[in-house]
């Protein structure tokens, strides 16, 4: 006969030694925009892979919400096709899919339809009753941004956002606003229904293994932090370069441009994690506090002198002739939307005072590359006076995010031989060589984190607003001047000549990533 534990258990002793500290609570995920591209390409494949790998709890359920004429069976079939097409794990395991699909339902309604929210509430109650979701809800707003406010408003007004027991969380896709004012208004609208702790603003870049690796590189290796400062670092270059154009996103891109599409989110995230202090722990607020401190410390930008914008014209990329931006689909032939931005900024704190950060992003550049490059200062004295030291270039530590994730260190080495000849060599390390394993998609990580209530890799209100205020300042500066003569760089080149002048003025050069 088994003995019974003397006292009630406070922890699950069977979980000791397992990688995940716990399984998410059973929950219902309500996906608004369920018939859209994001749900098909990213969300449903992510959920399938989480289910496949045992990360989802029993009873986990999904309610798709869209104003699309689909029956429940048709919606499930549509989702199954999406998983077949976009899941990273192939072939799709039919039994696992079936097990997940049993918890998938569909509510057809316009996002502003009050009656529809009544049906949604009834469906959520059914799931609580039949699948044990216990009032735990994730509201995933995978819609166009103009629907964010109305969905939040209706979730509040219908009582769904607060009903009963269990936790409620809301996930908002980017773009979160299109300037500081709209971001603040959106934050305000969401806060009338949800507290900041309930809000998960997605920037999928942070879900990438490679970006998280930058944090590990910096804070799990004791040798780098002592030299990660103004005393040893000459400057830092952060590049997010794309060789593709705007694909079929002309309509969106015309209103966004490179500044909103990449600079406000991805580049700001890379800047934050490259420049932040070590957080005391990896809790959501500890990490985000440090990131926000970096954004707060950015010296006011002199737009006329510190920012360059560009737009690509026709050219050649990867051996293919490509059209200019103004010739792309859904782009005005006289468009002044920027497809390239380069910014010089400084961070006013003890670690980085007077150390310039050069950031650039652009479309139709010669290659795809995301990286953070730390260029160190030259040695104070070179004892090899009569050698060819002028050939030496400074030490550069590069953290590559994509492609070929890894790190490289440029160092000086002696060329073997009887005379002292030096040359610069690269020591390259590919993470892939050590961990040649498949990485989970960013959405898998982020959806799981949200279900577990861990907001570390999501943007906080102040973080988003700080980034927008920087963008607004740049926009205001641009608005006060006539636009440059676009296009000002050919597709397949590294941006306009003014971008080179920006950095060369300081006696430095852009890296070729």
């Amino acid at each position: 006969m088994a003995q019974v534990a003397a006292a009630p258990l406070t922890q699950n002793v069977l979980r000791d030694g397992l990688i995940l500290p716990r399984t998410p609570d059973p929950a219902a995920m309500v996906i608004f925009g369920a018939s859209g591209d994001l749900t098909a390409r990213k969300l449903m494949p992510a959920l399938y892979n989480l289910a496949l790998n045992r990360y989802l709890p029993s009873g986990f359920s999904v309610i798709g919400v869209a104003d699309t004429a689909l029956s429940e069976d048709e919606f499930r079939a549509h989702m199954e096709q999406a998983v077949q097409k976009f899941s990273r794990s192939q072939p799709v395991d039919r039994a696992v899919w079936q097990s997940l699909a049993e918890g998938i339902s569909f509510v057809r309604m316009p996002f502003d339809d009050e009656e529809g929210y009544g049906r949604l509430a009834a469906e959520l109650e059914r799931l609580d009753r039949e699948r044990g979701t216990a009032g735990n809800r994730v509201f995933y707003l995978a819609t166009a941004p103009q629907f964010f406010s109305v969905i939040i408003d209706r979730l509040g007004a219908s009582g769904i956002a607060k009903a009963g027991e269990g936790w409620k969380r809301v996930v908002i896709e980017k773009p979160f606003g299109n300037d500081l004012k709209s971001a603040q208004a959106l934050n305000q609208a969401i806060h009338t229904v949800f507290t900041e702790q309930q809000i998960y603003r997605i920037d999928h870049y942070l879900g990438k293994e490679t970006v998280q690796n930058v944090l590990v590189f910096r804070f799990a290796n004791g040798i780098f932090e002592p030299i990660w400062n103004r005393r040893y670092v000459d400057h830092i270059q952060i590049t997010v370069a794309e060789d593709i154009g705007i694909e079929r996103r002309g309509k969106y891109y015309e209103t966004a441009g490179a500044l909103r599409d990449i600079f406000q989110n991805h580049l700001m995230q890379l800047l934050s994690i490259a420049a932040m202090e070590a957080p005391p722990n990896f809790d959501a607020d500890s990490v985000r506090d440090e990131k926000v401190k970096v954004l707060k410390s950015i010296h006011p930008i002199d737009v006329a002198n510190d920012v360059v914008r560009g737009q690509y014209g026709p050219g050649w990329v990867g051996g293919q002739q490509v059209p200019g931006y103004r010739q792309e689909l859904n782009v005005a032939p006289t468009s002044n939307t920027e497809t390239f931005v380069a910014v010089r900024l400084k961070i006013d704190n003890w670690r980085w005072a007077d150390t310039p950060f050069y950031l650039r992003t652009g479309k139709r550049l010669p290659s795809r590359a995301s990286e953070i490059a730390i260029q160190f200062k030259n040695p104070p004295h070179l004892p090899f006076a009569k050698t060819a030291v002028q050939e030496l270039t400074p030490n550069v530590l590069v953290m590559r995010i994509q492609p070929h994730e890894g790190a490289s260190l440029k160092i000086a080495a002696k060329i073997p031989g009887p005379v002292m000849r030096l040359r610069t060599v690269n020591m390259d390390f590919f993470y892939g060589s050590s961990f040649m394993v498949e990485s989970p998609d960013a959405y898998e990580r982020l959806v799981l984190d949200c279900l577990l209530g861990d907001a570390t890799l999501f943007a906080r209100e102040d973080e988003v607003e700080r980034a927008w205020s920087l963008v607004d300042r740049i926009e205001a500066g641009w608005a006060s001047e006539p636009p440059p003569a676009f296009p000002n760089y050919a597709a397949g080149t590294w941006g306009p000549p003014e971008a080179d002048a920006l950095i060369e003025h300081d006696g430095r050069r852009w890296r070729r990533p």
Binding site: M1, A2, Q3, V4, A5, A6, P8, L9, T10, Q11, N12, V13, L14, R15, D16, G17, L18, R22, T23, D25, P26, A51, L52, N53, R54, P57, S58, G59, D93, A95, V96, Q98, S99, E102, G103, R131, G132, A134, H404, A413, K414, I415, P416, G417, R423, V425, N426, M427, D428, F429, F430, G432, S433, S434, F435, M436, V437
Partner: protein, 351 residues
Amino acid sequence: MSNDHTELSTRSFVDVHAIQDELDQVRWGLHADGEGSEAAEHAAAEARASVCNLITVVGNEPELGAVTSVLDRLSVTNPSRTLILLAQHTREADKLEAEVSAQERTESGHRVSTERVILHAHGEPARHLASLAAPLLIPDLPVILWWPGRPQFDNPLFDDLCELADRLVVDTDEGFDDADLARLLQVARRQKAQASIGDLNWARLMAWRHVAAQFFDMPGMLARLAHIRGVSIFHGHDGSTAQARLLGGWMRSRLATVGIDVPLEFRLDDSIEHGVCRFLIYAGGDEGPARFSMSRHRGGRLSTQIRLGDQDLAERTVRLESRATEELLGIELTLPGHDMLFEQALAAALQ
């Protein structure tokens, strides 16, 4: 994914210094092209990723072939220096030979390079191969001793290599009986034991453990964990019980930490040949009877179900990975230090 595998060189030696020289050459490409040569210049610039030294022991040529194939595949994810000891101490004439080779593999444009030394010994040298292995290791990297099959616990080579190693990896699914499990536990608990123990069979149980733990993560289920009154484990009929014993040992040892002594029942399932196929946990207490069940199905799946009283809650189907040996080994290579949970499970399995 492109996969280009190149054998860079293979040469034979009998002297440890000659082996070391050859290893340096294949590791850094220091072939005798002359000072200042292009090759020498590049040598100074090259960074090599290596994650460990891996020593493995085999008893005959067919085993050597099988082990070599596993290590070839393992090298894709774990570039290592590999020493394969073909130790045949029962063969009379003393013999010692070494073969050094280097492999280069390209996966999706990334190059992975590994070196391998095969030490082949007969007679007395076969008992002292550890003395030859030690100087051939890459400094500062962990040493993993993978012993396929049942270890020769009484062979001095086993002890010598365990002393050299940071981790001993075995597979208790390869015919380990109770006596073998007991000897393994002794090794794990040996005073000043530096080598921690890894078991590929334990790694295979990860999915079962994960899913069992998840039952009690569910709201309201934790209380039932304190009222577990029995566990039934069904396993295949091929006579191999180590996996079922370990799973039972794990359950018993975890519950022992909160003062529960749970009875284990092991049952044969005639429909399955090998391994654990069903795992049932029974609970009682004030909340009423509950049964938590996990069943293995064809196609690498595990279905789970909870029955509370006479009510069945939502069923779930998840993946039960059937991992190849190199994958399981790869997992073992990432685990640091002693796995106390495994050692406790092993001890409880032997009670």
